[in-house]
Assembly symmetry: C2
Homo-oligomer: 541 residues x 2
């Protein structure tokens, strides 16, 4: 790139960037053409295989000064290919099985461009028109998928001006916050002289109802966004009580009931139970029916965080795994996870179509009463037309297409679990229920050493294994061929000690069985050269 080239800001050049598209053959047009005609090839070719250290990457993003002068688009395009694209993450790679991002269906790319070109704002009909009925239909379809109400129900509520069956959100976090916000406001609702928590705030609400505090009960595997929700809603993270799970990472409902009784005996009202349908770390699903029973007993809100697992409802063969979800008061589902929509498509659904009344708001210039503006029932304001991409995927892939994708992912996880179990140097930590599993590399010699160790030595080896697992994960990522992620669990086989494990997510339809074999082989190969292995573990072999 010629650093001397300098564009000039003039009225004419500015008008041009708003009116004249990049010429065919220009740098940016060439990049776009390559993306359009061969995305996989583009990503493979342009994302550097070997990871560059972050502090090196940062060197290209140092100046805090907005450049005074304009820059030619072609120069900019060239620059970000080298500085940004080359050092981004190949989230679509079939061998990158550590994330919840996958390859995308091709048609979402041109449709995204259409979405950006139309630049609708879903907060109000005036800036979205047909996008609003479309979003309401997608909310209706997802509501029907989860709750299965009658046609009459959807005829009545789906396009109702006074209600919304849910909300599109930027992601699962805002969806979870929205669900618990509504749960809080419905609990501390207007009553007599009290005009409701929305108007009067938390303290007035608790005083009016005579509660000493609020609590939310959730599995210890609950997503960290729930803690944020507790914080932002004024409930407090301490009152978000983590309940231990069983050996399958499912919440222990007996302990949850005991905890609820204990809290209520202290005057603390259990505001909500949160069931997890697909934990982020292991993909397990809480016993939703038992939780629904408990919620009914406690007369509290039952939210299900199905950000990951919700898409399983699309498979008639596997939706039984989420049995009981239809009894939830609210459900979070991320379309940008197992529904293969690009980043930024969270959803929250409410069983009761009047639930969002608890957060209804209006303004003079938009969201007037009686309008069908979706913005009067959402936490977010201005929002893009992401609903179109969900709509497109539901229509083009169809329920049966999704069923095949979901079923395949689960089978693949079971296959990978078998591979791991068949190899003595590995150890499966959590069995896949959906398409997530966790495992470790523990060479047979180390396993023997653990078996023969006394309890102090055991803890020492455990600590070394943790460091080793983290080191291996980092090295495999840096090598650029494949990627598994890692997390920390407290499995029984390690006496509930904090245990670092590899975590894999097998939702990419392009991940083949051969790739899975390769990933294990690569890990074995990395084993002996691992500095942490040499330092702490080799002595046991």
């Amino acid at each position: 790139m010629d650093q001397k080239r300098c564009a000039v800001a003039s009225d004419e050049s500015l008008m041009r960037i708003f009116t004249v598209p990049e010429a065919p053959g220009s740098t940016l047009s060439r990049i776009e053409l390559e993306i359009s005609s061969n995305l996989a090839g583009f990503l493979k070719e342009n994302i550097a295989a070997i990871e560059k250290p972050l502090h090196e990457i940062e060197k290209d993003f140092q100046s805090a000064c907005i450049p005074e002068e304009p820059m030619f688009v072609s120069d900019y395009a060239q620059e970000i290919m080298e500085q940004l694209v080359a050092h981004s993450v190949h989230t679509a790679a079939p061998s990158f099985i550590g994330h919840m991002t996958s390859a995308l269906p091709h048609f979402v790319l041109p449709l995204s461009k259409l979405m950006v070109g139309l630049n609708q704002n879903l907060v109000k009909i005036e800036t979205s028109k047909a996008f609003t009925p479309l979003e309401r239909q997608v909310l209706g379809m997802m509501h029907h998928l989860a709750f299965g109400e009658s046609k009459a129900f959807y005829d009545k509520w789906m396009h109702s001006a006074n209600t919304a069956l849910g909300a599109f959100c930027s992601g699962g976090t805002i969806a979870n916050v929205s669900a618990l916000w509504i749960a809080r406001n419905r609990l501390l609702k207007a009553d007599g002289d009290f005009t409701g928590i929305a108007a009067q705030g938390m303290v007035a609400g608790l005083l009016h109802y005579g509660y000493r505090g609020l609590a939310v009960l959730v599995s210890e595997r609950g997503h960290y966004s729930l803690g944020k929700a507790a914080d932002v809603l004024g409930i407090g993270r301490d009152n978000f009580v983590a309940i231990p799970t069983d050996a399958n990472n499912r919440v222990n409902v007996t302990l949850m009931r005991e905890k609820a009784k204990e809290l209520e005996s202290k005057g603390i009202k259990v505001m909500a139970l949160v069931g997890v349908a697909g934990t982020t770390e292991t993909g397990n699903i809480d016993p939703l029916h038992a939780m629904a029973d408990l919620a009914a007993e406690l007369k509290c809100h039952f939210h299900v965080d199905a950000a990951w697992g919700g898409a399983t409802l699309l498979s008639a063969n596997n939706r039984h795994l989420l049995a009981g979800i239809e009894r939830a008061d609210s459900i979070t589902i991320d379309a940008h996870k197992q529904m293969y929509v690009p980043m930024g498509a969270g959803l929250v659904l409410f069983k009761d179509p009047t639930a969002t009344d608890a957060i209804e708001h209006h303004a003079e210039y938009i969201l007037r009463k009686g309008s069908k503006d979706l913005g009067s029932h959402t936490l977010e304001g201005s929002r893009p037309g992401m609903a179109m991409l969900v709509h497109a995927c539901l229509r083009v892939i169809g329920r049966k297409g999704y069923e095949m994708l979901i079923d395949k992912s689960i089978s693949k996880a079971k296959f990978f679990a078998e591979l791991i179990k068949a190899d003595d140097d590995f150890e499966l930590i959590s069995e896949p229920e959906l398409c997530l599993l966790t495992y470790r590399l523990v060479p047979t010699a180390i396993k023997k050493a653990i078996a023969n160790a006394d309890s102090d030595e055991k803890l020492e080896i455990y600590a070394a294994l943790n460091r080793f697992t983290a080191s291996m994960q980092k090295r495999q990522r840096e090598s650029g061929r494949s990627f598994v992620s890692r997390t920390r669990l407290t499995p029984a086989q390690y006496q509930h000690q904090p245990t670092v494990v590899f975590r894999v997510v097998l939702a990419n339809p392009l991940t083949s069985e051969a790739i899975l074999r390769d990933i294990l082989a690569e890990q074995k190969q990395l084993l002996l050269s691992d500095p942490v292995f040499k330092k702490y573990l080799a002595k046991y072999c």
Copy 2:
């Protein structure tokens, strides 16, 4: 479209949608090509000029059942062109001057596609890599634009693992919520035995500090998202106190001070003052220096909601309008407004780089301590790489390019104000300070009738004028040629009665003076045929 065509879900067809792009010449490719080569032409040709009633549009979005079978992409593309695109809103039209959405620079379209194709997730480095330093740089640039700290400051903080200079958000609402969340948590921070509101919740926080409640003071022209923030944060909408404005829609700081003293005398702590830098309805800017003084006096957080007006800082000629903003503790700016970035790019900036410590959070599998993951300091979790589009606009347009755009918008608004004032049948309601103004169509005869009316008759005519203005606005929108929006103010010339006005936003660089003349001419032409005019107002003429 042939309704009989039916795609079949098979392993092969599914793999194809993940691996084989649409063929050149296919329906979707043709649509995309048209967008790429002539977006303005595409929008003009494909968005229906005449508005279809919403209940008609809704007919195409009725079913709540997810279709069982897949659908060919080409059929889907054809269908949404007719059902969705045709009935969306031409937000880029130069004659649509009622929204805060404008024509976009062309290069953001191919870049958006690149963003979607890369599908990075900014919550963590592991799924964003170079996108994280890029986002940190954009936050740094915007921070520098607003607060102008030294190079040493940015060298120290911009890429610091422990801090964030701000947060990218889906929009201004989440930005405002984030700012006030942090203000709340910093006020009720850990102290002695008290571990902070984030951990222990609102009630414990108030008890510890001995406050009877919290309040936030803001202009009566403050954005409705602030009310949502008060609700969600547990403060309560009633404690979000609206302070009257002067004749120029700027908050009266004397009244604000009085209110603050009154509240504090009752044991209610003023948590924050919110200054508005570009009200949504009129574009006016609060006296930020005076507010900063008051905030210092009250020892409270000073937030500036510059969602609309923040971009004015890019103009050396007009940034003086926002003088005092550099004294804010936090600032909201929407890049999808006057920075010409597509929908979904809000920002919040914090003067103190350690401010976001108040909401810091971690998880086992990501956002580990010491990582540079942006997600540990944001309300949202998974987020797309929108920062790239802001980065691109800052680089390609440059500060000087933005200066020309901003200056031009403001001049255009002043020109339009003069046009309105020069025509006796119109009435300017709010003078433009930025590029927003409000006005009414009040034929001379009606003006005379008001002058001669007694106070009861006046109110009657006012009511009729309100209905008329709303009716005119709706008819003009439905005619499809142009669009102004409307809101309700309480101007002095109408004895502070609720007054419906036309509202225009002149940020689209393609809006010409001729278009502005045409819009007024069209309104005059619609006047006599307006049913509300005939029913209520014609008698005065």
